[in-house]
């Protein structure tokens, strides 16, 4: 009866978070960038739940729950913004949405 060390979960979380950052920085499609943000939120949730296991407390689960709720709200508003941007600009490329760029 042996399990994986807690550190493995945290390292997996770090790997997923880094991949989310990489996607956020490299990709140009606004929807893919949004999905990378969701990936980062999921990685953080994994950390929360791993620490909650280690400390034998339910508080980490509550935080992960709130992160999920905020992610759902964010997805609804963000996708509405993407729809509006596409309606006005006819593009999903973030490099072409640069009216506020100096």
């Amino acid at each position: 009866m042996s399990g994986p060390p807690l550190a493995w979960y945290l390292i997996l979380s770090a790997v997923l978070f880094s991949l989310g950052i990489a996607g956020f920085l490299f990709r140009k499609n606004i929807i893919t960038i949004f999905m990378s943000i969701e990936l980062m939120l999921n990685a953080v949730n994994l950390s929360f739940i791993a620490f909650s296991y280690q400390l034998k407390q339910v508080n980490g689960h509550i935080f992960a729950f709130f992160v999920m709720v905020v992610a759902a709200a964010e997805a609804a508003v963000g996708l509405a913004i993407i729809l509006t941007v596409y309606k006005n600009r006819e593009t999903l490329n973030v490099d072409e949405v640069n009216s506020m760029k100096f």
Binding site: S2, G3, P4, P5, L6, A7, W8, Y9, L10, I11, L12, A14, V15, L16, S18, L19, A22, G23, F26, R27, K28, N29, I31, T32, F34, M35, S36, E38, L39, N42, N45, L46, I49, A50, S52, Y53, Q54, V58, N59, H61, I62, F65, F66, M68, V69, V70, A71, A72, A73, E74, A75, A76, V77, L79, A80, I81, I82, L83, T84, D95
Partner: protein, 165 residues
């Protein structure tokens, strides 16, 4: 057994996450993201978070990803065109990412020694009963504020998606 399950689903999660980043078509990225979320739900179960594992499948893999796929289909988003990346970024990006991950792994290993083992079933506090009790006593105010946040999000989404804007 726990180690094998962890390794299987960790590898699925990482491979799908890499796929999210490297695929050029948004639909492929979205499907890969569903894979990441499904395998993460299994890892939550291994950590004793039953309620959150179910919530992960229902809310993330179910609701949020359906919303994503719906918007991708609605906008008929095509494959992303390859554009000129900066040479320095191309040269340094991957090695720096690996270096960062190696450093992070090293420090995590130092902070959490191998004696901190995750046993399936050792933590029983993640049931719906426990979550509900904590949510409606200690975290009641944040919970109610969250409902206001969701109401604002609904109104905002409707206002943004109106015809005349």
């Amino acid at each position: 057994m726990d180690v094998i399950l962890f390794l299987i689903f960790a590898i699925i999660a990482v491979v799908c996450a890499v796929n999210v980043v490297v695929q050029t078509h948004p639909i492929s990225s979205a499907i890969s993201l569903v894979g990441v979320m499904g395998s993460l739900a299994v890892l939550y179960l291994l950590l004793g978070a039953e309620f959150l594992a179910m919530a992960q499948v229902i809310v993330y893999a179910g609701a949020i990803m359906v919303l994503f796929v719906f918007v991708i289909m609605l906008l008929n988003a095509g494959a992303e065109s390859k554009r000129g990346r900066s040479f320095v970024a191309q040269l340094l990006g991957f090695p720096l990412l690996i270096t960062f991950l190696a450093l992070a792994a090293y420090f995590i290993q130092r902070l959490y020694p191998a004696s901190a083992i995750v046993h399936f079933g050792a933590f029983q506090g993640g049931t719906a009963q426990n979550i509900g009790r904590a949510l409606f006593t200690q975290y009641l105010l944040p919970f109610e504020v969250t409902s206001i946040l969701i109401l604002i999000a609904i109104i905002g989404a409707i206002v943004l998606a109106r015809k005349e804007l």
